[in-house]
């Protein structure tokens, strides 16, 4: 903030956070735990994202994977390009620039008392984990919790220990599948939609939360339609190219909606007249 800005904050200026833990979840996904330099408030709600930057390299939107019930913030970053490659090379103690949190949230309030079904494809588990953990931390507030996870191959599975812990729990159901079979895998094989019939009876009265790669949505939504899930009960978490995160740069627009402000979490029924969405 500076004198000439009428006391207004520069919305593009990141604040520094320090990496306090880092570990590879698989060959391409890095998990980092961050603490804000100088402490201070940082309030977010599951479903939101932050703009992460390394000065000199660039900036990108990244979903918050931790729950606000935790200390600090956790992100999972896939190595796909200029910025993410550099972040992958960072160590504990290195700093990331953070802006946010931005965007819409999962229906943590309106879903209270209802059953939750999470449908996660690949890295789609990352933002969903925020709500899953939040719901587990407020276990009494929600009904049944079901997590469906599809991963391309065994080697790419995320949060394996955490999944194992969830699997142990009596108060939630975790179903996993991988696209291609593997020697060390005796679970389900097939894409994530193949898990949907297994929980079909559950679906119509649940809040369904969907996040995964672009092509996944079409098929999951078809399966959910078949299962007669009302569109108001489905929430999709969408990704788009994004430069500013604050509704100016125009990149993330899907028809009239801005993923950075109207999303990334959308109620599916609101997308009926948004042909570019799915």
């Amino acid at each position: 903030m500076c004198e000439c800005c009428n006391g207004k904050k520069d919305i593009y200026l990141p604040e520094l956070w320090t990496i306090t833990k880092r570990r590879m979840l698989n060959g391409t996904e890095l998990f980092v735990h961050l603490e804000k330099d100088g402490g201070g408030d940082f309030d977010y709600i599951p479903g939101q994202f932050v703009e992460v930057s390394v000065a000199g390299i660039g900036e990108a939107p990244i979903s918050i994977s931790s729950s606000p019930t935790q200390k600090g913030m956790e992100l999972v970053i896939r190595n796909v390009g200029a910025l993410t490659k550099v972040i992958h090379g960072m160590e504990v103690g290195d700093k990331l620039g953070i802006r946010g949190p931005y965007g819409s949230t999962y229906p943590i309030e309106s879903a209270k008392g209802k059953d939750l079904v999470f449908v996660c494809g690949g890295i789609g588990l990352v933002p969903q984990r925020s709500f899953i953990r939040y719901a587990l931390d407020h276990r009494a507030d929600y009904g049944d919790i079901t997590v469906l996870i599809g991963t391309k191959c065994h080697d790419m599975r995320l949060f394996r220990e955490e999944l194992a812990m969830w699997d142990e729990r009596k108060d939630m159901t975790v179903l996993e599948t991988i696209d291609e079979g593997h020697d060390c895998w005796n679970g389900n094989v097939g894409v994530v939609t193949t898990l949907i019939p297994k929980v079909e009876s559950h679906l119509p009265n649940s809040q369904i939360l969907v996040c995964g790669p672009p092509i996944m949505y079409k098929f999951v939504l078809m399966a959910l339609a078949e299962a007669k899930v009302p569109e108001e009960n489905i929430f999709v978490n969408l990704e788009r190219r994004m430069k500013c995160g604050v509704g100016k740069c125009g990149h993330c627009q899907i028809n009239e909606l801005y993923v950075c402000q109207d999303g990334p979490v959308f109620r599916y029924s609101d997308l009926a007249s948004v042909p570019e969405a799915i």
């Binding site: 800005c5 207004k8 904050k9 100016k248």
Partner: protein, 343 residues
Amino acid sequence: MSVSTVTKEQFKSFVAALVNSDQKVVGVQAKDDKFAFGELTDADALRLDYDVTILPPKKYVLPQKETLMNFEVAGAAKTVCPDEKMVLLGVHPYDMVAINQMDELFSQGEYDTHYMNRRDNITIIVCDVVTPSENVFASSMNTATCDSGYDILLTDIGDRFVVEAATEKGEALVKTINGAKEAAAADTDKRKAVQEKNIASLNKHTLECKPSDLPDLLEKAYDHPVWEEKAKLCYSCGSCNQVCPTCYCFDVQDEVNWDLKTGSRCRSWDGCLLSNFATVAGNHNFRENRADRFRHRLYRKGKYVPGKIDGQIACVGCGRCISACTSKIANPVEIYNTLMEKA
């Protein structure tokens, strides 16, 4: 605020004095066979009789490239505040309307200090159109005249200018014009005549509906064949975006200095027609078809942006995209009219 008249000579002296002061003055000047806004160093070079400028004056509120912050590589960053004051001389009403829209877009929701500071530092002198450009259709868009945003409104009534101060800043400037006389009723009548003429005649293309009908029209036109038809010829060159006074999409890139320790984060113009505007990691392009991108621009102008600014249509009828498109397919009026035929 005051309404006065000045002779053209008096006005030129005023511009000359302004140019000679330490104030930065930007005005319309000839550029080969066309016109462009540029820093004015000679009052004689000012051309208030221009038809249209190649680029709109948006380049002063949202420059082609601007530094948002300076940083230490992988470290902290510091805002760069635009603080240059300038007088922007000779903005046409339709361009003023476009700036007003951008003001709204950059201040609503998250307040963009970079844009807004620039804007606050500019004193705008609008001048009513003297020479209509070959593709202007401001009359169709109700932007042949404008009633806000400017500090001074200037109208050429033949031998003199009518000068209206609309803000304190404008009033202070008008006070420095030697020989300004209070406008007589006859002068303001003449001004009215000029403006009425413009309202009727800045119309080289005629939109066959009210601008306010466009959102509804577009509501039903998503799958109209015109998108494919036109976009067949689209080069995805983004010329239509670049020259448009209401296009404001941008890209952000980091640049590092030679010390490799410091650098700056810059934003620059982008365009939704460019083929990778919506490409994300894994090379997934969310708007891969030319026709989808082509349609997106016309929807932004006629429906999406209006949705954010109280229904104001984000095409001000300057006609620049019509001239700038090498494929001659970008004419919004032609497209909107085609959509109506089917409807």
